[in-house]
């Protein structure tokens, strides 16, 4: 057997920080063949990025080092090479693409300068040749006007464009190994599909190997020849994509696979979750690092580190693979895990205890009545972009003439590409901002006509969960203070009373009440999002707006939060508007879904209906862009082409006509109205599918 392109043997990476050493990655062994696509998957913090950076010895710049093991590229040992030699390999033999294209470019140089810089560094070319090469590269990755783009600065390109440019830069010197570290997480589903297709096209063309790092199993399924699953700094499973999806040999992989929401998962059952949170680097558990969260864990797991074993290139590091393979399914709820968080106390219990001061509770039995809670009529929000002397330079049509209603107790999902106006609609809906035109009725009362004071009152009933679990809590407040703030504002509670209520809330969202006095930075993302939720439900609102409330979280944590939200909804009779770009999750939680495009609501339908029979070409395109976590259903990425136009000058007629495969002259001229096409399904399209 020929020597593989890359062979990593027992690699351990250490970081040194003021005398303390951290080992985020331990004993990594894998290889990559030429022309092969290998996906590295795992939860956030599992060491994927560190692994990829260590391969290029980029960890050296972060006070890290490869403490042991070997990395051989083409038989050449990289771990002992001096930086000067390594520099000739970086960018030339191994190239890298990063997660956030916006942040990966130096903002003060043009795209062209940064491209040619790479070329000139590695290839003996004149400036002209380098430039010509750059133009060529940009054309390859699908830039319509490469010469023009060369002279532009990173901030002048969209995320999708930048990611293409990034790929062009990585390809500049014809690398043998391309490492792509979450290349599409920052992008829209539609763009993501475009980029992934580009990558696989280029791979065929250049015959290079790709190490694709992702936490989206859907992407892995679509792209990978082989997969590597990491957990807490160790590889737990390696195998071909097909076999790994078909028959995971490690409980963690199995759990991950189960916690994915797919288009066909059962909406009525709660999502499967791996309980607990991934451990932090400084306190990795002994033995098998997954054992605290593993339903199969035994004493052996706690004390001994399992080694990768298995046949036919499908290996797993688990003591109980055989048990896993025998059992049809894992136990639904794993037994108590050794984390500090309390065993999930039933929400209903906790809330029942706090019931006494609330008179009206709309239980789940009211769901059927389906009264209209919120009615939105012709809602419009324009932003004026101010020039000098207060002149309006441009008007951004963030939300344009949107009408729909939300029924009591339901979850209304909002989807659409980035910039389509979802958040704006949400903000105007709960009156965090004033609408430019249109009305919002809440329980029949017109919110848009209230004064500030009345608004603040009305806030009791309308709450919001923010996307960003880190930024949405005051870092200087203890979580108790944060969650208790609504009580300070609306109910003058005594200190002990407030504390009691907050502790109940903490319990309700699955946090330990003893953590009242802790600061946000001491919590994980998922835990912080629970804090946000606790704050949102503190005043027993009727309505909660969740704007990308789970987008920033890991899949497994996402599932925990979604379950929590749904449980709360049932207990408290909440009505949600759920904004997300993960379509699968929206489908799972929503009863009805609205699709937005460039400020317009283009389609509204019950969730199942929308997914099964999308009527708008845009909806159909969106759905087609979703990667399916099933390697057996690999398809062509048949997604929408191009990018969303600027909301400052939206296209005439149907705003989607510029990207619509079925657009006609009529679409260019006449804006379609949202019309009912039966079974609560409305669409704004002249030619619904």
């Amino acid at each position: 057997m020929a020597e593989p392109l890359l062979r990593v043997e027992g690699m351990t990476v250490e970081f040194e920080a003021s005398g303390q050493s951290l080992t985020p990655v331990t004993d990594i062994t894998f290889h990559m063949e030429r022309g092969e696509t290998v996906c590295l998957v795992g939860e956030s913090g599992s060491g994927k990025s560190v692994t990829s950076k260590a391969l290029m010895r980029l960890t050296d710049f972060a006070q890290g080092r490869i403490a042991s093991g070997s990395v051989k590229l083409d038989g050449q040992e990289l771990t002992t090479l001096p930086q000067s030699v390594l520099r000739a390999i970086r960018g030339k033999k191994i190239a890298m693409i990063f997660q956030e294209p916006m942040a990966a470019f130096d903002p003060v140089y043009t795209i062209g300068a940064q491209l040619t810089e790479t070329i000139l560094k590695h290839d003996k070319k004149t400036k002209q040749e380098a430039r010509a090469h750059a133009v060529d590269l940009l054309r390859r990755v699908g830039f319509p006007e490469p010469e023009l783009r060369l002279t532009q600065y990173p901030n002048e390109l969209s995320g999708g464009m930048l990611q293409r440019a990034m790929i062009a830069m990585a390809l500049a010197c014809g690398p043998e190994l391309l490492i792509a570290d979450e290349p599409t997480t920052a992008l829209d589903v539609t763009i993501q599909a475009q980029i992934l297709r580009l990558l696989s096209d280029l791979q065929t063309e250049y015959g290079m190997s790709i190490l694709l790092i992702t936490h989206d199993l859907g992407i892995a399924a679509e792209m990978a020849d082989r997969m590597i699953v990491m957990y807490a700094g160790r590889i737990v499973e390696v195998g071909t994509a097909d076999r790994l999806f078909a028959q995971p040999r490690h409980p963690y992989t199995a759990g991950l696979l189960r916690s994915i929401t797919t288009m066909d998962s059962d909406r009525n059952a709660p999502l499967y979750t791996i309980e607990g949170a991934p451990p932090s680097v400084s306190e990795f558990p002994s033995g098998c690092r997954f054992h605290p969260r593993c339903p199969l864990a035994t004493d052996l797991c706690r004390s001994e580190v399992p080694r990768l074993s298995g046949a036919d290139g499908h290996t797993a590091a688990c003591w109980h693979t055989d048990v896993l393979l025998q059992e049809a399914a894992l136990p639904a709820v794993p037994p108590g895990y050794a984390s500090e968080s309390p065993a999930a106390v039933s929400v209903s219990e906790v809330l029942a205890a706090a019931e006494h001061n609330e008179s009206t509770v709309t239980g789940s039995e009211d769901k059927g009545r389906a009264e209209v809670l919120i009615d939105v009529r012709g809602l419009t929000k324009h932003y004026a972009v101010k020039g000098s002397f207060g002149r309006t330079k441009a008007t951004i049509h963030a939300v344009d003439d949107v009408s729909f209603s939300i029924r009591e107790g339901e979850t209304f999902g909002l989807v659409g590409e980035s910039g389509s106006g979802k958040s704006t609609l949400g903000r105007v809906l709960i009156q965090l901002e004033r609408a430019t035109a249109g009305q919002v009725f809440f329980q029949g009362e017109e919110l848009t006509a209230m004064d500030d004071r009345r608004h603040r009152e009305a806030r009791r009933d309308m709450q919001m969960i923010f996307q960003d679990p880190y930024g949405s809590v005051n870092p200087r407040w203890t979580i108790g203070e944060t969650i208790g703030e609504p009580f300070d504002v609306h109910e003058r509670l005594s200190q002990p009373e407030k504390r009691r209520r907050v502790e109940e809330l903490l319990q309700a969202v699955g946090l330990n009440p003893r953590w009242y006095d802790r600061y946000p930075h001491e919590f994980s993302g998922g835990q912080r999002q629970r804090i946000g939720i606790a704050r949102a439900i503190a005043l027993r609102p009727r309505f909660v707006l969740a704007d990308e409330a789970v987008s920033a979280l890991d899949v497994s944590v996402q599932a925990q939060i979604v379950n929590l939200m749904q449980e709360l909804q049932q207990q408290l009779g909440l009505t949600y508007v759920f904004i997300a770009h993960g379509l699968n999750i929206v489908r799972h939680v929503s009863s009805r879904i609205g699709v937005m495009y460039l400020g317009n609501l283009v389609e509204v339908a019950p969730a199942e209906e929308l997914f099964r029979h999308p009527a708008h070409p845009y909806t159909a395109g969106l759905l087609a862009s979703i990667p399916v976590p099933d390697p057996s259903r690999k398809r062509e990425f048949g997604s929408i082409q191009g990018e969303i136009p600027s909301p400052a000058s939206p296209p005439s007629g149907c705003r989607f006509h510029t990207r619509c495969p079925a657009a006609t002259a009529r679409c260019r001229e006449e804006a379609p109205r949202l019309t009912d096409i039966g079974t609560g399904h409305s669409v704004a399209c002249h030619y619904p599918l």
Binding site: G19, E457, R459, G471, E485, V489, S524, G525
Partner: protein, 294 residues
């Protein structure tokens, strides 16, 4: 516990660990030294007679301009006063000058900057123009104007220095407020129905203080120096016991014959500024719960 995408800013990483670990690294050593210096200076300010046995005012023609030695560690000045003793006794006014002017200028500047940044709109425009106007007025003119209003005194020097520092504080505060006021936790507080005032005092203000604090720690040093600049121009206050800056200004003519007269007070200022900076950074870290615990 925290998920990290890409490399986190490194200095942050190591600072956090530095504080967490609490082991005796170079940083702790500096901190300790800074603490000692400040404690000593504070002692000088409160009870100078404990730290030296000489009189700061006794004029002694028999020991003029003696170089540093056993009797006079840092030498004597042109009045025959012990330089070390001068520094010790001068600490009080120097501290007063540094702290009071930062306090006055800082409070005024922070208030203006806060007003400007938080309210925005025409208030912002107005305040910022005023700040700019203030910046174009030369410090000496302000010093004179203020001195003229009430006669020359330490208070006036403090006011003058404070007045010319106002723009700096205002600008720092404003930009910080501007960046904090759009943070999500502010929006979150608004979304639960908090009033503007509440949001301001509970969320915006506490989170805007760090850069201001850094600025203020530097400001203490510059204020002492501004005092010496005024003395240089003859606008300072002549007191029985001069502050460090004044000694520096008055002793400069003796640099060639008695370098120690104005070098040691200068060193005293430098050490003080250094210590204040180290402590200032430390306080900033401690005030930030992200660094203080864990």
């Amino acid at each position: 516990m925290k998920a990290v995408t890409g490399f986190k800013p490194l200095w942050k990483a190591d600072r956090r660990q530095r504080v967490r670990i609490g082991q005796l690294g170079a940083a702790q050593l500096f901190l300790g030294a800074a603490g000692l210096i400040l404690a000593f200076i504070a002692l000088c300010a409160v009870a100078p007679q404990w730290v030296t046995s000489y009189s700061p005012t006794k004029i002694d023609p028999t020991s003029l301009m003696q170089p540093p030695g056993r009797l006079h560690w840092l030498g004597t000045d042109y009045f025959g006063r012990d330089v070390y003793t001068l520094i010790v006794y001068g600490a009080r006014d120097s501290l007063l000058l540094g702290l009071a002017s930062v306090l006055v200028g800082g409070v005024a500047g922070a208030a203006l900057g806060t007003l400007s940044g938080y309210i925005g709109g025409w208030v912002d425009a107005l305040v910022m123009r005023f700040i700019e106007v203030l910046m174009t007025i030369p410090g000496i003119l302000l010093a004179l104007a203020i001195a003229a209003a009430t006669g020359p005194s330490l208070t006036n020097v403090v006011l003058a220095i404070a007045a010319s520092a106002v723009p700096r504080y205002a600008r720092v505060m404003r930009s910080q407020i501007l960046s904090v006021k759009h943070r999500h936790f502010v929006l979150a507080s608004r979304s639960i129905g908090s009033t503007g005032l509440r949001i301001f005092f509970k969320h915006v203000l506490p989170n805007s203080f760090a850069p201001f604090l850094v600025m203020a720690t530097i400001g203490i040093g510059t204020s002492i120096l501004a005092g010496s600049g005024l003395s240089f121009l003859g606008l300072g206050v002549v007191k029985e016991i001069p502050d460090w800056g004044t000694v520096l200004a008055q002793g400069r003519g003796y640099l060639t014959v008695a370098w120690w007269i104005c070098t040691f007070p200068g060193l005293a200022i430098a050490l003080f500024v250094l210590a204040i900076n180290i402590i200032g950074d430390y306080i900033r870290d401690v005030l930030d719960p992200r660094n203080g615990k864990g």
